[in-house]
Amino acid sequence: MSMPLLRFESLRVRLGERPILRDVTLDVHAGEAVGLVGESGSGKSMTVKSVVRQLPEGATVAGKVRFGGADVHAMTAAELRRMRSREVAMVFQDPRATVNPVRTVGDFLTEVLRDQGLGRAEATRRAAGLLAEVGVDHVERRLGQRPYELSGGLLQRVVIAAALAGEPRLILADEPTTALDVTTQEEVVAILNEQRHRRSAALLFISHDLELAAAVCDRIAVMYAGEIVEILPAGRLHSDARHPYTRALLRSRPGTVPPGERLETVPGVPQSADAVPAGCVFADRCPHAEERCRSVRPALLAIGPGSAACHLEVPC
């Protein structure tokens, strides 16, 4: 396979003394969609933030993040700015935190385009085209509206349009539909999917919802306590998940068991990366943990169609 567009090489991040990410290794190829799935505190957002060097103040980084081969954490300010504005686009959970509340939708969209050297009229024309592509109606009127006049779903489409405006090679989407109603989520996700395919952009999609991530992505990486514990092709998630944590996540959703039956639960609470044991990060909560799980850390090794970090031969 060709060189990946984005590569995490044993990425480790600490905040002061606290480890946030412990050895994240993952490739995202050009045009590929990878889902980062896990519970709160698992390190999904930090992994994504490390791509554009937006880690919190005081964070120390070991290992590498490479974008198009270049070490992101060794880039000059100008290179970083160029990457952020032209090659990598970001879509976050709350669109209202992304757009400037006192400027119009048109201003927000044309800013990106004008920055690329387009004239005012041409930028406006392109902005209108982008809005239409992401399913926004009454485009002319919308361009003159301000964020508070738009619903959350509509505003998130505007943010996606802006993300696409720079023709990025990679889109980072951090829970982009979590704040939306389910029917709106479906539309926004469908649009994101369609536009990504049309433009052959790669996507790193963060979600706490395994099924949602599986519907949008080619591969799924499951994170727990600052580590990737399993990577699988999205279509093989249900049939081939090996890691006890992935399997527990799949089975703890209500709807997976007949009504009235008990949901499978994982005892305890999600670990944060700074409290993990010497061995496997999941050993404390794993119902199948053996002696070596507590003492020897399992490596993420290729197995079946994916890879898993688990000692157990036939888990569950």
Binding site: S40, V182, Q185, V189, A214, A215, R253, P254, G255, V269
Partner: protein, 255 residues
């Protein structure tokens, strides 16, 4: 146990949040009010618990139309919110929070209150040692357990749960859902479950009312409504839940 008839709520400025909504919850039953944002489900819940006053319509609780006495109402209906951190006093230990509720709403003496607080912690699956903890020392799931224990403390007949599991991680959500199933079996309390999540409905509720834009779209037993929905809106709601093999599609934009 709860009978809501022809409820209507008009907010200042003329916005009609709830329009002609009726539903009932039998003693020990479990009803879900399902809908997206703006459907009026939370307004209904707030009227039932007395946090909001209806413009017209009746709410019968235990056969009584008005529970003007707040203390009496609180011993019949209790509410659990989405964010337990905001609904707990951050300077009060878990045990003292429970004991305070028991002092207000029961005739128990001090040793009996202490004993009951311990039983409540057991009921919601919290280690009794955590009784001495402050909310900030607890995880989100543990805080929600405390909120449920506190709501159950007065021995209410009805628990209104407003998106009570929405903010929890899936593995924790499963624990709390199991806990809610157990608590209902153990105490006979009825649930009015306000949620946008259909899979949660299937798991903990017997009946469901689907709401959209302030009105009831469809209602009936959960099994029937979720497997053979009759309203187009319910079908769309069910169809948009991510599941294995699901392909998101772009419907006609509603603007």
């Amino acid at each position: 146990m709860l009978e809501v008839r022809d409820l209507r709520k008009v907010f200042k400025g003329g916005f009609v949040a709830v329009d002609g909504v009726s539903f009932s919850v039998p003693a020990g039953g479990s009803l879900a009010l399902v809908g997206e944002s703006g459907s009026g489900k939370t307004t209904c819940a707030r009227i039932v618990t007395g946090l909001e006053r209806a413009t017209s319509g009746t709410v019968l609780l235990n056969g009584a139309t008005s529970l003007a006495d707040r203390r009496h109402r609180a011993s019949v209906v209790q509410m659990v919110f989405q964010d337990p951190y905001q609904s707990l006093d951050r300077r009060q230990t878990v045990r003292s929070c429970l004991v305070e509720v028991l002092r207000h709403h029961t005739a128990l003496d001090r040793p009996a209150r202490e004993a009951r607080a311990g039983e409540l912690l057991d009921l919601v699956g919290l280690d009794r040692r955590l009784g001495e903890a402050l909310p900030r020392a607890l995880s989100g799931g543990q805080r929600q357990r405390v909120a449920i224990a506190r709501a159950l403390a007065p021995g209410p007949k009805l628990l209104v749960l407003d998106e009570a599991v929405a903010a929890l991680d899936v593995s924790i959500q499963a624990q709390i859902l199991n806990l809610l199933v157990d608590a209902r079996a153990a105490t006979g309390v009825a649930y009015l479950f306000i949620t946008h999540d259909l899979s949660v409905v299937r798991h903990v509720c017997e009946d469901v009312v689907v709401m959209s834009r302030g009105a009831v779209v469809e209602s009936g037993p959960v099994e029937r409504v979720l497997t053979e929905p009759s309203a187009e809106y319910t079908r769309r709601l069910i169809g948009s839940v991510p599941r294995p093999g699901w392909v998101p599609s772009r419907a006609v934009s509603r603007g």
